[in-house]
């Protein structure tokens, strides 16, 4: 073969052809403008975001976004605003490079969003029932979206109880909103691991409160969102109050890289949490020991 054999020239990029044919990339985010950026605890910051695209607002409680910043990547982030609101609210804990970069965002900055993704809460499955919401730590963030959705429909649900546990009173999120929620019919039982001087709520784990709450026999559903370690124990406590696998709803946290059921990180058995979840009826997770 000649040393000077001419190599054929290939056109390596057909990007324009793909785009002109309307091949939409599911990986392309839409910008949102940060309207408010408020530090709400030592580790969490609350954001109000005006989305550039209406489709971002078409979410239900329990769904999530992939939220990113160029140069830092993306992560799955819970939606904390209620469905139908005109602005997106996020509450983000700083744990890594990306989330620390989110914490540096201020009014007017841009944030990049894909979604909404996944299956959220089916409100019709909760209608007519007493609901016990059990939130641990930042589980209150997605729970707030569900609480707003439920409280917006007075008379459709039975007795509503929120059991909310945090490490310390300072780590309690949305404390300033709780009086409003109470006025709208939510019984709130808050508990902390480490109380300080003025703390008037409970002390100890959320599971200690479950035996004490009032609930209608056979007509109560439980909703659990919290850190991974919390689920097993809360489920047992709810079981003890007569709630079965059909009566308990959970939202599962998982590592996610795509949001569209491809990257594999969120997979439990045959379930991709980003598509089939993150909200599951407990009975749907039967035979999946890795769910919790």
């Amino acid at each position: 073969m000649s040393l000077y054999a001419k190599m054929p020239e290939h056109k390596p990029e057909h990007n324009e052809e793909a785009l002109s044919r309307g091949m939409d990339s599911p990986y392309l985010p839409f910008p949102g403008t940060v309207e408010r950026s408020i530090r709400v605890s030592e580790k969490e910051r609350f954001f109000v975001v005006a989305p550039s695209n209406e489709t971002l607002l078409d979410y239900g409680p329990g769904q999530f976004f992939m939220v990113g910043l160029p140069g830092y990547g993306e992560a799955p982030i819970s939606i904390t605003s209620g469905p139908g609101e005109k602005k997106i609210e996020l509450c983000i804990r700083a744990v890594g490079n990306l989330t620390n970069a989110f914490h540096r965002l201020r009014k007017g900055d841009r944030i990049w969003i894909r979604g909404p993704f996944g299956r959220g809460f089916d409100l019709s499955a909760l209608e007519g029932r007493d609901i016990v919401f059990v939130a641990g730590g930042i589980g209150i963030v997605p729970m707030r979206s569900l609480l707003k959705a439920v409280l917006d429909k007075p008379g459709r649900f039975g007795r509503l109880t929120l059991i909310y546990g945090a490490k310390t009173p300072e780590e309690m999120l949305f404390a300033e909103e709780m009086d409003g929620w109470r006025r709208r019919g939510l019984d709130i039982q808050a508990t902390v691991d480490k109380p300080d001087g003025p703390w008037k709520g409970h002390t100890g784990l959320v599971t200690a409160l479950i035996p004490k709450i009032e609930m209608a026999h056979m007509n109560t559903v439980g909703v659990i969102i919290g850190p991974p370690v919390m689920y097993r124990f809360v489920i047992l406590s709810l079981n003890a109050r007569g709630l079965g696998a059909e009566d308990i709803f959970v939202s599962l946290e998982r590592r996610m890289k795509c949001g569209v059921g491809k990257c594999g990180h969120c997979q439990i058995n045959s379930v991709y949490v980003c598509q089939c979840g993150p909200v599951f009826r407990l009975s749907e997770l039967k035979g999946m020991p890795e769910a919790f």
Binding site: P70, G71, E253, G261, Q267, S270, E290
Partner: protein, 346 residues
């Protein structure tokens, strides 16, 4: 009525003219010799293509699902994002039946639910030319029924003395053959030789599964508590080789890379592996598959059980690559047979 494959006969020198013709239009990726081993690589001249009947260490998946792939480009100053969906017109030359089966599974994965345009666009621009093979001690495709294909390729070549019997799998394949190679009708001797070669191949399989493929999902479903997982978990090094070499492992990571000028960057996806420690770890530090035993159980189940719920198909094609490349000799056929035995005993 059984479909009788129609063959054309392609003499060796006509194969060269086919490859040279393809090189004018396409990037040709085929089996080449790399460090003394058969491997998939880009071919720049017909004589570099070395059709081999031996399995390659790596599959050809990287030509459709690259190890590193740009999904987006962004400008760090304006933060404008541009989606990237790139493809080259390419030919994958010399894929064995297991790899053609694997491609068909990858096609289904990336088209399922929210379609992945990056894969699908590249796939659309890809021509597949298969070639026959001989099993080594790790191949067990015959036990899974993936040892032959009658679709999923444009052309398929069977070695016979002095040339190839070619099966045409698509109109595109037929047109290429007509354009670049002079074929003739095969003689009786060549067809007879093919039958003999198929029989030789059938007898050459040493690794076999002791159950029918359709029984495997149920057997795996009953094996969550098997002690096999602890045993292989104890020797697994967690290196992720099995994921990398697997033609149907498609999990990926996504991360941003910023250029040295800090002016622009790319969002790229790279292969990831469920046997790697951090794969199922969340930001708070909790790892949903903490142990190697759990991670291996997950990987094996993905091949034989989990995905069959959605796709009604096994995702192992029996290529034996994971066993072949395993540093500690965990063998997927042996493990599966052990589970089959445990269930037979129960």
């Amino acid at each position: 009525m059984e479909k009788i494959p129609k063959f054309k006969y392609l003499p060796d020198r006509a194969l060269n003219s086919l490859v040279n013709g393809l090189l004018r239009e396409y990037k040709v990726c085929g089996t080449i010799e790399k460090d003394g081993f058969p491997a998939f690589g880009e071919v720049s001249a017909a004589d570099e293509l070395k059709l081999t009947q031996s399995p390659t260490h790596l599959s050809a998946k990287g030509f459709l699902f690259p190890q590193r792939e740009v999904l987006l480009r962004f400008d760090m100053r304006t933060s404008a994002h541009v989606p990237v969906i790139e493809a080259e017109r390419q030919v994958l030359f010399g894929l064995h039946p297991c790899d053609i089966r694997a491609l068909a599974l990858m096609d289904r994965i990336f088209a399922h639910g929210v379609p992945d345009p990056n894969y699908l666009f590249r796939r659309e621009h890809t021509i597949v030319i298969g070639a026959d093979c001989m099993p080594d001690e790790y191949c067990f495709c015959e036990s899974l029924g993936t040892d032959d294909v009658d679709e999923g390729f444009d052309l398929f070549l069977h070695r016979t003395g002095g040339g190839y019997l070619v099966r045409v799998g698509s109109e595109r394949g037929s047109a290429l053959l007509e354009k670049y190679a002079r074929t003739r009708e095969p003689g009786k001797a060549a067809l007879k030789e093919l039958d003999a070669a198929n029989e030789r191949r059938r007898l050459a399989f040493r690794a076999k599964l002791d159950a029918a493929p359709e029984e495997l999902p149920a057997i795996y479903a009953k094996s969550d508590e098997s002690r096999v997982w602890e045993r292989i978990g104890a020797i697994c090094t967690g290196c992720g080789s099995c994921n990398n070499v697997c033609p149907t492992c498609y999990c990926f990571d996504v991360k941003d890379e910023v250029g040295a000028s800090l002016a622009e960057g790319e969002r790229v996806r790279t292969w990831d592996g469920c046997t790697l420690e951090d794969f199922a770890k969340v930001a708070g530090g909790h790892n949903f598959r903490k142990t190697r035993a759990e991670r291996l159980r997950h990987r094996f189940n993905r091949k034989f059980r989990y995905l069959s719920d959605t796709f009604d198909s096994l995702f192992c094609v029996g290529c034996g690559r994971c066993s072949r490349s395993c540093l500690v000799k965990i063998n997927i056929a042996d493990v599966t047979n052990e589970l089959i035995r445990e269930n037979a005993g129960a």
